[in-house]
Amino acid sequence: MPAAEIRLEKISKRYGDLWAVREITLHIKRGEFYTFLGPSGCGKSTLLRTIAGFVSPDEGTVYLDGAPVNHIPPWERDVGMVFQNYALWPHLSVFENVAFGLRERKIPRDEIQRQVQQALEQVGLQGTERRRPSQLSGGQQQRVALARTLVIQPRALLLDEPLSNLDAKLRAEMRIELLKLQRDLGITTIYVTHDQEEALALSTRIAVMESGRVVQEGEPREIYEQPREKFVAEFVGKSNLFIGTVARAGDGIIEVKTEEGLTIRAAFSSPLLPGAAGKKVLLNIRPEAIDLLAPGEEAARLNRIAGKVAALAYQGSFVEYEIEAGGRPIKANVINPKGKRLFQRGEEVAAVFDPKDVALVS
């Protein structure tokens, strides 16, 4: 399958006073699975629709394989889109839905027959050709929509929250299937979602968006482990954010005095070290990096914060605790609680964590 490289240069679009998308520049490589991640209204769908040609940007240029396409209408762009509601045509059968794009391309009749069969097989829907979309389940409709788009062998695949209308279990299944399909075909894919788990699981790279801007771009691990803005740390996964001032720097470790009066040690190798003292910083510690100990218990972790259990929720594979320390809540997910004693509400505990698990956000 052909795979395009997509470049966006300084794309801006406003609706009245509202910037839907503001000066976005991105480079999506051949065969990538690239995700626009952000809350509703952040401009991710507008950006996707700009690439498909349904939105024309006020400023900036969209390049497909190096050629500007701003003036090419949607029907000549040859980028396949799957809509959130699937947009299956209710007056056409499954076969006719899938065959639609091939007929537009004037493919011979028996070739259409063969390619539609193949596309339906690819998504595991052989035998449903004569049914109407309304006679299929949500998951099946999703597959038809995918088959309909893939059958025309588009230069890129654009997916607009394709899994959001499915129930949780089906969503997880489709996620894996989509992943395998995309990696097998090697088609350049842009995926729009507000679900951070989906984004982390599927993408080769992610652009986190807020209010029409890309706030951070990177591989999933980078986004999760080294968020560079408060918004990213909070939006992707759960977080414990601390604002503080660097009290001491040295030995690859900085010591931060937080607003609440807690002391947190963080490991750094970066050039921040010289003259870092006195700087204001924002730190993030993921809940799963924090372990809980009884007050007397010793551990080889450099950070130790004393607190009280304010709430706990048993989740099966882990326990979600909320600890109150220094007048603020700290979230701690303690993994694999099997056999371990659960701390009770009101109990004194010590939250311990490693300096290398402390991320410097800014």
Binding site: A52, G53, F54, P73, P74, W75, E76, R77, D78, V79, G80, M81, F83, Q84, N85, A87, W89, P90, H91, F100, G101, E104, R105, S134, R148, T149, I152
Partner: protein
């Protein structure tokens, strides 16, 4: 419940069944198809049936040629004057077709404005208003907005992603319209067309005004009024009218059911601006269609201020006499209309709310029957209901009235109430459906009993729907003619529509006064329509759908 059911059976089902029975029984009371066989043996009746069907089809055809482009332009294009277009396009609905018929005679008739001009300039005339042509012309100009509204609604209900997806697949322009847009809007369009078809074949006023009698409705009317209440052929025609209406209504329902399938998730397809030549053509088309469809309004307005207007291009002298006549000398037409229609609308609101409540909130046996009977009037032409009433209530003193119902004005109120009941039932039903049961349950959970819950929670929430339904009943009743002219017991008890008919029929009384009454009717309907818009907001068009 039992009382409601009894009421509806007595005033809707029973009269129709009696009509059916007369047409199906011989003198000894045995079942027979002989009358129907006789009907089809008579060339006159065969021709009437054929003409009725033909006029229905032609009105739908010509109406579509006007309505579908207008609907498409008003939904998909953005241009200055679009609001004006949408407003003007509903104006034909406010002029009763039989009033429009008279007005068009003056403008397009043999000695009307246009033909006089044609004669003067080219010594040539066009028989616009002769025979079936005239009937079809008047009805087309009156009914095309029904098709337009239904088409526009169904067009704006198409999910934009349906078309975007097709564009994404490489489809555009006329091909996109043919493969995606048209099939998706077809159900709404067909439903609108079928409703128009029903109204056309039920229309009695237009053919009577134009003096073209060879259609089913006027034939039924003439048989009963001239030959007599016992003339079997009249009943047979009535039954055929009911069958045609029922079939069309059932088909319309089926298609509207299909139309639900493609409704919007995201807003409608954005209207796009048009420029240059295309814009000019769009505006030209809209202007032409609206110009022609507003001719009746112009004619009736002129006539109402004229002393004499015949064999001249414009009225010779202008006067206010016509208004003095109908407002001061013979004010009972206007007064009666207000009395009857307000009573009927009020009754409709109460009955409609009660029926809707039973349908949605109770599990009582017979709900479906109630629903079916309350919907039935949509498929019963006014003539048929009137014939049924004459058959049932003629000759026996109604308890409490001291005379047969058919010799009091109550019969008109009853006829209006029953004919328009489906509107208020539907409006209340839709409104009540929006009120989730949990809203009522939480009131009861907090200590309000059933009555209090209805009074404090349900009623305030459905008031909008009730008022809108009542207004539609009011509007449509105030220009009802087909059952009115059969049921009016005495001249002094007639409403506006009857008055117009009488004035227009006799040159002695003066057609100007009839036109003035027509203007009053237009104003009443406009007022009602305006209020409905206020209550319904943007969904006002739904008032004219089934």
């Amino acid at each position: 419940m039992a009382a409601l059911l009894a009421l509806l059976v007595l005033f809707i089902l029973y009269p129709v069944v009696r009509v059916l029975w007369v047409s199906l029984s011989d003198e000894e009371g045995k079942l027979t198809l002989l009358h129907f066989a006789n009907f089809f043996r008579r060339p006159l009746f065969r021709e009437a049936l054929w003409n009725s069907l033909l006029s229905g089809v032609l009105v739908v055809l010509f109406g579509s040629l006007m309505a579908v482009p207008l609907a498409y332009f008003s939904v998909r294009y953005e241009f200055r004057g679009k609001i004006l277009l949408q407003t003007l396009a509903t104006l034909p609905l406010v002029i009763p077709p039989f009033v429009g018929a008279v007005a068009l005679q003056l403008i397009l008739g043999r000695s009307g404005m246009v033909n006089l001009l044609l004669m003067r300039w080219f010594d040539w005339s066009v028989p616009f208003m002769e025979g079936l042509t005239g009937v079809v012309l008047v009805q087309t100009l009156h009914f095309f907005p029904f098709i337009m509204l239904n088409t526009a609604v169904s067009l704006s209900n198409i999910d934009p992603s349906m078309e975007e997806m097709a564009q994404n697949m490489g489809c555009r322009g006329l091909r996109l319209f043919g493969r995606i847009t048209l099939p998706l809007m077809l159900p709404g369009y067909i439903a609108g067309s079928l409703l128009t078809f029903i109204r056309v074949i039920d229309d009695l006023g237009t053919p009577l005004m134009l003096n073209y009698k060879n259609l089913l409705a006027p034939q039924a009317y003439l048989r009963i009024t001239t030959i007599g209440i016992d003339d079997v052929d009249g009943y047979v025609i009535c039954v055929i009218l009911v069958i045609l209406s029922l079939v069309s209504l059932a088909a319309a329902r089926k298609y509207l059911g299909l139309a639900e399938y493609a409704t919007v998730q995201r807003g409608a397809v954005a209207a796009r601006p048009v420029h240059g030549r295309k814009r000019f053509l769009v505006l030209l088309f809209c202007g032409l269609v609206l110009g022609i469809s507003l001719l009746p309004h112009m004619g009736i307005f002129l006539l109402s201020f004229s002393k004499v207007w015949s064999f001249s291009i414009l009225p010779a002298t202008y006067t206010l006499d016509n208004y003095t006549e109908i407002l001061f000398r013979v004010p009972h037409f206007v007064r009666n209309t207000l009395l009857y229609t307000i009573l009927a609308a009020g009754l409709d609101v109460i009955l409609g709310a009660a029926i809707a409540f039973l349908l949605l909130r109770s599990r009582i046996w017979g709900r479906n029957l109630l629903d079916a009977i309350a919907t039935l009037p949509l498929a019963i032409p006014g003539v048929v209901l009137a014939v049924g009433y004459l058959r049932v209530f003629h000759g026996w003193d109604f308890p409490g009235a001291g005379a047969p119902l058919t010799s009091t004005w109550f019969i008109l109120v009853i006829a209006y109430t029953m004919r328009r009941l489906p509107y208020t039932v539907r409006a209340s039903y839709a409104a009540l459906q929006q009120v989730h049961v949990s809203l009522e349950e939480s009131a009861q959970n907090l200590g309000a009993n059933r009555l209090k819950t209805f009074y404090k929670v349900t009623l305030p929430l459905i008031t909008g729907g009730l008022v809108a339904g009542g207004l539609i009943a009011f509007i449509t009743s105030s220009v009802e003619l087909s059952s009115t002219i059969m049921l009016v017991p005495r001249f002094e008890l007639g409403p506006i529509s009857y008055g117009i008919y009488v004035y227009m029929q006799s040159a002695a009384l003066g057609r100007g006064a009839g036109a003035a009454l027509g203007v009053v009717a237009i104003l009443l309907v406009s007022l009602g329509t305006y209020l409905t818009h206020r209550v319904f907001g943007g969904r006002a068009g739904s008032a004219f759908r089934v």
